[in-house]
Amino acid sequence: MALTGAAAVWASFQDVQFLALVLAATLTGILVGALPGLSSSMATALLLPFTIYLQPIEAIAVLSALYCAGTFGGSITAILINAPGAPPAAATAFDGYPMAKNGEAGRALGMAAVASSLGGIFSLITLILAAPALAKIAYAFGPPEYFALAVFGLSMLASISGEMAVKNLIGGALGVLISTIGVDLTTGVERFTFGSPHLYEGVHFIPVLIGLFAMTELYEQAGKHKPNYERIRLSAMRLPSRADFRRVWATILRSSGIGTFVGILPAEGGTVAAMIGYNEAKRWSPNKQNFGKGEIEGVAGPEAANNAATGGAMVPTLALGIPGSATAAVILGGLQMHGLRPGPYLFEEQPALLYAIFAAMLLANVAFLALGLVGAKGFSRVSLIPRQFLWPSVFVLCLIGAYGLRHSMADVWIMMVAGVVGVFLRRHGFSPAPIVMGLVLGKLLENSFAQSMIIFDHAAAGFLQRPIALLFFALALCGLFFTPTVRLLRAIFSKSNPGKRS
């Protein structure tokens, strides 16, 4: 089996078109990741409608490679201009930029590339081992278990950010609500269509994705002043020395494990993984006093973690159909768009697709290391692209992406409305990612709920007789109430022991 898999991955590498597409996606991913304001979520959302011209295997491979490379690309501008190109690279700037200011930009970038690559490959091995195993477990799942799993996935939105937990949950529920628009397939009843025939088939998620990720960012950028970055000169990216490796290997290993685990958790993504990776690197480091001043472990930790989260996030996405991050939600949308049903049957019916994804992610992780070494100086210049040309170009791509999907102006209007709604939501502290997660999971949630109710003869108590479903509900409750409970206990404890308050 393993030999068959390795042979399939090797065969993918020998396909010139596949190779060219994945390398192009990797290059695009680094460029997009390096551009402050453009994220891998936005790039995959923009690219998604155009993948319709590709074979399903190539399309998903391209999106996966873009996801990996985009996560790395953010570190280039984080280190050189203290402006993370993408949110997962925010933690890299804490020590990467001070290193660059100390004249060690090449060393910081080299470490970022190597740590990202190793983290990505570590998580990819986990993906290859864990996803089929998880898929085998999922064979035992029926509609009640899938409903409980989807509820668990959405409940994890609460833990993305403790401060905005409730808003994330509201966003997730709004996304599911949007998925109910259209004609109910069981009864033929129109729901929230306002009599418009364009909405009978429901709201396609791609225009909403483009609107929420790209148009919202475009409006936000329109309201910002031109940023004035202090640029650090870079002569060349330098591979880490043996001494550097001895210093960071444990950090890379630990952060790769953390990143993979955080990525596997539904809804958690590279940003959370990178923050935890950075904090743990600091906690375990003998040089913790140097953190924030240009400590190389402070670059290796978050970079290994955020790239490890990409492979981790693909585990539940492929095995269960529950996205592990916002970008994985877009890739899940891509699978659905190409008529592929994620879950255990994907492993049985489409092994070629899975091997192609593994091959693409492996290639991307190796390619961005090589491309980074060769072209870091050039990639850092991407942030010099004038905003007055960049954002109008993004708008045209949004317009064509939304229209080109079904040659429908209705989709363009949906994209535009989603963009405006996204601006309002973002200004009031609602992130677009939970809405996208809700939208992508919406149909699964409603269909599995309806099927469960039929199985249980309309008695919701039937869920209590399904141990796996109960486990997911229990995990969902833990995810929802763990942080508030800990805070409450801390508040009670600090009130009862005021002298010990620190």
């Binding site: 155009f50 011209y53 401060e163 409730v166 808003k167 949950l169 509201i170 529920a173 709004l174 599911v176 609500l177 109910t180 109910d184 069981t186 009864t187 033929g188 009843v189 129109e190 729901r191 929230f192 148009m215 475009l218 409006y219 936000e220 329109a222 309201g223 031109k226 004038p386 905003r387 007055q388 040309f389 954002w391 109008p392 170009s393 708008f395 045209v396 317009l399 064509i400 229209y403 080109g404 040659h407 102006m409 363009v412 209007w413 535009m416 963009g419 405006v420 601006v423 200004r427 009031h428 502290g429 409603e446 709920f449 309806a450 109710m453 039929i454 003869d457 309309h458």
Partner: protein, 168 residues
């Protein structure tokens, strides 16, 4: 992101606009109010769905799931208001250029349906100028070359059909 309201400091401009009651409750009150109103309106809409016999809906009527979601959102909105009490609303950022860009984008989309690819030239020029480009040559070059590249890639190479509009 949000500064806690201090009784000693004067309220920010955005907060003053909210009025006394909202200020006491905090910025979350306005957000919660909007969400609760939206939920109430959508719930009312769900009462106007066509009714179907129980046997056809297999005991899962079409309004059941949306209503569950609306009740969940309403409940969470109440929690959000409770959590946000006493926290002032965030100041509203500059919006003039956002409004101009949004207007240009919406007009561009409306005209795209009528004129197809031609409008992309005007759209690119308008957005580029709104973003601050003042050099006529750069503006014209960009406004002509980018839509031309888009046309070559998407229409000639990928075979995408833009709306014919008035050129039909």
């Amino acid at each position: 992101m949000r500064a806690p309201a201090s009784p000693d400091s004067p309220p920010p401009a955005a907060d003053r606009r909210l009025g006394g009651a909202a200020r006491r409750l905090g910025g979350a009150a306005a957000e919660g109010g909007v969400l609760l109103a939206l939920c109430a309106w959508l719930y009312w809409l769900s009462t106007r769905f066509d009714s179907v016999p129980a046997v056809l809906s297999q005991n899962v009527p079409p309004e059941l799931f949306p209503r569950m979601l609306l009740l969940t959102i309403a409940g969470l909105s109440v929690v959000m208001v409770w959590q946000g009490r006493g926290i002032a609303a965030a100041p509203v950022p500059r919006v003039r250029r956002v409004l101009l860009v949004a207007a240009a984008a919406w007009i561009g989309c409306a005209l795209f349906a009528m004129t197809g690819v031609v409008i992309l030239v005007a759209c690119c020029a308008a957005l580029c100028a709104l973003w601050g480009e003042r050099r006529p040559a750069s503006l014209a070059l960009y406004a002509l070359l980018y839509p031309a590249a888009v046309y070559v890639v998407f229409v000639l190479f990928l075979g995408l059909r833009f709306p014919d509009g008035v050129w039909r």
